[in-house]
Point group: C2
Chain length 312, copies 2
């Protein structure tokens, strides 16, 4: 397996998310092999698999104990959260997980978190976001190192397996005769995710050949880096947009500036359609000086500025 | 149908590619309706459908005649070209088509070409390139207006239907009771293209819902604009690359600069792997000062420069 853990000082403390599935068990062992002894094992029981969920938690607890590692277990009724917030199970599970990681980071005073996402996860996430419509600011592929602020906690998330394929992890697990919990991964509990893994990608491979995973992975890698580059070129937005300045920009830059502005203005949606709506105010020949946005907001052009109004 | 032909002066001469299929027949009628009278109908017989190919050509000839339009017919044995050049039928067909358009543009002294690609074509092309691995410089989505130099001829290619869906074209064709040649589109003769249209996208729609086409279309639109923006930021490459300058750049910019340099150096491949190979020379800690590239080329780092060597 091509995985380089040398950048990470083994004497430091790290959080690691462990579902009990093969990926996180493999990552835990790799970190132990690399000499990391002060790992804090974080396990969230999602309440999604009934009795099996509790058995997953018990398995991870034994694993942590055997290696003399600290362990934090959290519980979240993801189905109930999804229902209450009217979001998908997938979104609710992810939010619950990150809430849990942030709370644990705060409690343990440890801000670096290892996660076991691998190359196949990257491919699945990329296609998932592409088909569902990921919006205007990138296809949200994962990064090997990323900083993320959650509930006021600044987390550094490390994903050293992001270039490693599931088959390589399987081979490692088999060679080391490691135990793990089948289907304990969170992705496995999400129907559309499962379908992506077990139906959609295999069907695409049948049609296009085995290389499609690599093609998609490479594209995700290229676009993620380009997204970071572009994001770094967009200054913090002001409350008003200058029409003259926007007109001088390439379309892609206009879109990103407007996206940042919509976020600043707390527009409930800041997707492609909303951005294009605001862009329609730019041409000299624009028919309207006002466009409606979700949440009773309007973007209005007046005196060479675009600003936000609210109320009907 | 949302299509704006007002930017195009109807008094000017234009080439238009007409296969005889519904898309190009619809575009021809839309241009005629918009008052364009000096259209030059360009039809390439691909020799891919036997007798039907000749019937397509005859159909387009009658159509041109009925509207009093100039017509140029070309012939290319695409299967033979593909075999000889060892390229796919799809690539051979595209090359033959553009060679034909370029030759016609030169012969008729007319450099603007209308093509009937529509929103579904855009989605299919995007997915096709994604799954096949489109390389480092964008996913090659089509643009509504693009300049392209072919065999020394600078063509301006216009695709006014790029935002129009196949179903909308079908409805227009039905409402106007237009005749067209079933399956005359070039895409229809390419097995993997056909499969994309008739199996893969319908399967994805079944899994993800009807919106996937729109999601992919939007992504193609966003990424195309971002690609243009980024391409505009890369200066013309020199024969040597400065290691210090490259190191200061974001990864995505390094990749584009190296891509342009590989092209300048006539490297036979300038894909992701070759680019990453050259990038591996950049770190202070780089193990090697030389990497092999296809075509007996080597990129070598010496005295803070990267340059190309050839020969074994």
């Amino acid at each position: 397996m091509k995985i380089d853990l040398t950048p990470y000082d083994p004497k430091r403390r790290y959080l690691i998310g462990v579902s009990g599935g093969r990926d996180s068990v493999a990552l835990l062992h790799l970190l132990l092999e690399a000499g990391c002894k002060r790992l804090i094992v974080c396990h969230l029981d999602h309440h999604l698999r009934g009795r099996a969920s509790r058995a997953d938690a018990a398995f991870v607890e034994r694993l942590a104990k055997r290696h003399g590692l600290e362990m934090v277990t959290g519980r979240a009724d993801v189905t109930a959260i999804a229902k209450k917030k009217r979001i998908s199970i997938e979104t609710a599970a992810r939010e619950a997980r990150y809430d849990f990681f942030a709370a644990t980071a705060r409690g343990k005073k440890c801000r670096t978190l290892f996660l076991a996402h691998h190359a196949d996860d990257q491919v699945e996430t990329f296609l998932f976001n592409l088909f569902r419509g990921a919006g205007a600011a990138g296809l949200g592929a994962m990064r090997p190192e990323t900083r993320r602020k959650i509930n006021g906690v600044e987390l550094l998330i490390l994903r050293p397996l992001l270039g490693v394929w599931r088959t390589e992890i399987d081979a490692y697990i088999a060679a080391q005769r490691m135990k793990f919990r089948e289907d304990a991964t969170n992705a496995g509990t999400i129907p559309l995710r499962n379908r992506m893994r077990h139906e959609i990608i295999p069907a695409l491979e049948k049609w296009f050949g085995r290389e499609i995973r690599k093609s998609v992975w490479r594209t995700a890698e290229i676009l993620t880096a380009e997204n970071d580059w572009l994001a770094g070129m967009i200054p913090a937005p002001a409350c008003e947009l200058s029409v003259a300045e926007l007109r001088k920009m390439p379309v892609a830059r206009q879109r990103r500036v407007i996206h940042a502005w919509l976020k600043l203005m707390k527009a409930p949606d800041a997707g492609f359609d909303e951005i294009e709506s605001v862009r329609s105010l730019l041409p000299e020949s624009a028919k309207a000086a006002k466009v409606n946005l979700p949440g009773d907001l309007h973007a209005r052009r007046r005196a060479k500025k675009i600003f936000m109004e609210s109320g009907k």
